[in-house]
């Protein structure tokens, strides 16, 4: 499904070039992140885990990928 073309998106505040045609869950795989350990905010909307595979990443999208770290 993935083409050779790339698109520009913003991930965690940084510009990133990623393959075109990825779903959000495929993007997590591309970034070598475990989908069960990450929560995704896609263009300001929080994605439920079930929605990751159906959400497509398009040029110019903004993604926030967060997880739990040590804290008080």
């Amino acid at each position: 499904m993935t083409s050779d073309q790339t698109i520009q998106v913003q991930i965690n505040g940084r510009d990133k070039e990623i393959p075109d045609g990825l779903s959000v869950s495929a993007l997590l795989g591309h970034l070598q992140l475990h989908p069960g350990m990450v929560v995704v905010e896609h263009n300001g909307a929080i994605l439920r885990r079930e929605a990751l595979a159906g959400a497509s990443v398009r040029p110019g999208d903004t993604l926030e990928l967060v997880h739990f770290v040590g804290g008080g």
Partner: protein, 267 residues
């Protein structure tokens, strides 16, 4: 496990927050540890069942730096996400919703800071966020000042627990205003958990002796020379302070009273 189901081993009632019975009255954080291994061992040694975690961006440059879920089993501990680092109600609500989307819990430790130097809470923003989150189905455990009026309003806002500070976050200054804490405890129906400021085991015992329902701490354990040893000390001190509160202390007297009989002395 049987012990957990049967309730506390000490004759105390379990601490019940949002319908969940907890054997330990100590809640601990997972920040500032030197290693993940030390953190895991300290959490275990503390006896805590509720363990706080923070929500942060994944570090894309070092994805091998694992999140806390790789080390703490959410089946074994009730992971309590916090909104630490948030300075507005809107940010805190956003962090809380991100945390809930992870799918482990509806609980959130709400923390809205009002000042970077003291890290004291913003009461107004905390209240606004608490109302919004409670209306959205969250079980809100709200970090707040040791102020009765704010505490009452947080309870009224639907918080599952109210968590006044002993002293500022990370200060280790101990329980600065026992009177305020007792006042809050005497007036609230929801559990009162003292959060932040405890420095060592005697602080934990003194705090529990005020009659509060529990303590949440992080730095006092993580920054101890032997974090695992301090975690155990804090667990014992929390329980000791609780038992002393339940047992009732003797009156203070400004004169000595002998413990041995005055009668029967040799002439």
């Amino acid at each position: 496990m049987t012990e957990m189901m049967a309730g506390p081993r000490t004759g105390d009632e379990p601490l019940v927050i949002a319908g969940r019975a907890l054997r330990s009255r100590l809640l601990v954080g997972t920040g500032k540890y030197r290693t993940n291994d030390e953190m895991v061992q300290a959490v275990e040694a503390s006896g805590a069942e509720v363990v706080t975690v923070a929500v942060r961006r994944v570090d894309l440059d070092r994805t091998r730096e694992e999140g806390v879920l790789f080390h703490l089993d959410p089946e074994r501990y009730l992971l309590l996400p916090n909104t630490a680092g948030c300075y507005t109600a809107e940010d805190a609500v956003r962090y809380a919703r991100l945390a809930r989307a992870a799918g482990f819990t509806e609980w959130v430790k709400l923390e809205v800071i009002g000042d970077p130097e003291t890290l004291l809470p913003d009461a107004e923003a905390t209240l606004r966020a608490a109302r919004e989150l409670a209306a959205d189905g969250f079980q809100v455990l709200a970090y707040t000042n040791d102020d009765l009026i704010t505490a009452l309003r947080l309870e009224d806002a639907g918080c599952a627990a109210v968590m006044p500070l002993a002293s500022p976050i990370g200060s280790g200054l101990g329980l600065i205003n026992p009177f305020n804490i007792r006042t809050i405890k005497s007036r609230l129906t929801v559990p009162v958990i003292v959060d932040a400021g405890v420095g060592t085991a005697s602080d934990a015992a003194l705090t529990m002796e005020q009659g509060v329902d529990g303590i949440l701490m992080n730095t006092a354990i993580a920054e101890a020379r032997d974090a695992v040893g301090m975690a155990r000390a804090m667990g014992l001190a929390t329980e000791a302070g609780r038992l002393a509160y339940l047992a009732g202390r003797m009156p203070r007297r400004e004169r000595a009273v002998p413990s041995s009989p005055a009668r029967g002395m040799l002439s």
